[in-house]
């Protein structure tokens, strides 16, 4: 008993010291000031073999599971490649894109989201593939955005709905001229996330359900004519403003972008032939 009494304070001190040391290690690990991976590495080197010895052995079921996993991943990979090829084919078969020179590309990076979703994406084609800035990016459904920066193997695209993208458009069968952008014209309510504001150049004549297509730019840069931008989903009243605006739902949802095409078309070098009317 006397021995016990002698020993007890020392034991208590040792335990308290160890606990303080542990708390110190925990605090260092929590703060990230010290890299604790060597400690884990030592533990793995010392205890790993023991764990392997008592761990589950490789048996027939495990081999079959591994085989299954390998085949499943291979199947998924093949399916994905097939789907990408189909999407690329669909892109090239789109009537509105007929005659345009396209280079197929994949979205490999998406920038930080703006207030209404992502505004920039990165494609896996660049200057080596003939891509230049101010080129239109399209899918089979319609216009995606325009190229704003080009690297040797990648390019950055500003999506429709980005703050600095404005597209001249024609609306509906009558071809009313207007402008589509993310920012609402002065006095009109701001468009909801995922939609664009449509400001017609002249008054009226917008109807819900009208298709919105691009007006076209000189030399097809950045936007060739006739690409689908979206559909008019609402027309607001013109109270207090010279023209009634509208809301356009884009044909392409930025969240589902995968295979896209970058329009490469050359600037026209030949004069357009003239023709005699009524002849």
């Amino acid at each position: 008993m006397t021995r016990d009494r002698h020993r007890r304070p020392r034991g208590r001190r040792v335990v308290a010291g160890l606990a303080v040391a542990t708390a110190l290690v925990l605090a260092l690990d929590l703060s990230g000031a010290v890299d604790t991976s060597p400690v884990r590495g030592l533990a793995a080197a010392g205890l790993g073999p023991l764990e392997r010895a008592v761990g589950p052995r490789e048996d027939k079921a495990a081999r079959l599971r591994a085989e299954n996993t390998r085949l499943t991943t291979r199947l998924a990979d093949t399916e994905q490649r097939l789907a990408a090829a189909e999407r690329a084919d669909a892109l090239l078969d789109t009537p509105t894109l007929r005659g345009l020179t396209l280079v197929a590309a994949r979205v490999v990076g998406v920038g930080p989201s703006g207030p209404a979703g992502p505004e920039r994406v990165t494609l896996d084609v660049g200057a080596r593939d003939g891509v230049q800035t101010d080129r239109a990016v399209v899918t089979a459904d319609g216009l995606v955005g325009r190229v704003v920066a080009v690297g040797p193997w990648t390019c950055d695209v500003l999506l429709l709905g980005g703050r600095e993208v404005a597209v001249g458009v024609r609306v509906g069968p009558r071809g009313v001229l207007g402008e589509v952008s993310a920012a609402a014209p002065a006095g009109a309510p701001a468009p909801k996330p995922g939609t664009l504001a449509l400001a017609p150049v002249t008054g009226g004549a917008l109807a819900t359900g009208d298709t919105v297509t691009t007006l076209g730019s000189p030399g097809d840069q950045p936007f060739p004519a006739g690409l689908v931008v979206g559909t008019v989903t609402a027309v607001d009243d013109a109270r207090g403003r010279p023209t009634a605006g509208g809301v356009v739902t884009p044909a392409v949802a930025p969240a589902t972008l995968d295979v896209v095409g970058v329009v490469l078309g050359e600037r026209r070098a030949q004069p357009r032939p003239s023709a005699t009317a009524g002849g």
Binding site: G11, A19, T22, V25, L26, D29, R40, A43, L47, E51
Partner: protein, 162 residues
């Protein structure tokens, strides 16, 4: 306690932690917390200081046995605190199964509660049903295993002192 005895008890704690990892690798769920069972055994046999030391060693074993915990030392501190508390519940003389189970409930509840709090603090999902089953299972296993631990300790004492 001699260094050799200390080493043997530490090895037993490490073995318990490795066993837990191996059982989890075989998809055995829920598994009783064998480390907590050992900590309860030594805390009830030798008192708070030994309980805290056993908890510290067992918690470090749980933190370090691969794949390890994401925070080194947290289990060690929680188990040490639980071991200290369990040692306070020691009584002189023979210990009944009910007291052992109750102590194991307290220890297991404390360490599981700390894990649940940590999970909640990072908004991770918590399966409270499984936690409760594990605590009850630990208490049951402790009531069965702790007498064996105490008997082994008693045998060691008897062999040393006659």
């Amino acid at each position: 306690m001699r260094p050799l005895g200390l080493l043997a008890r530490t090895a037993l704690l490490v073995l318990a932690a490795v066993l837990l990892a191996a059982l989890a690798a075989r998809h055995v769920r829920p598994v009783p917390d064998l480390v907590a069972v050992l900590v309860v055994g030594w805390a009830l046999w030798r008192g708070p200081v030994a309980g805290a030391l056993a908890g510290l060693a067992g918690g470090w074993a749980l933190d370090l046995v691969p794949p390890g915990a994401d925070l080194l030392g947290l289990h060690a501190l929680v188990y040490a605190g639980a071991g200290l508390l369990a040692g306070r519940l020691r009584v002189e003389g023979p210990v009944g199964a009910a007291r052992v189970a109750g102590t194991a409930l307290v220890v297991s509840g404390l360490v599981e509660g700390a894990d649940v709090l940590r999970a909640l603090s990072v908004r991770a999902p918590v399966d409270l049903g499984e936690v409760v089953v594990r605590v009850l299972l630990t208490a049951t296993v402790a009531a069965l295993v702790v007498p064996l631990v105490v008997r082994a300790e008693r045998a060691v004492v008897r062999r040393r002192f006659g």
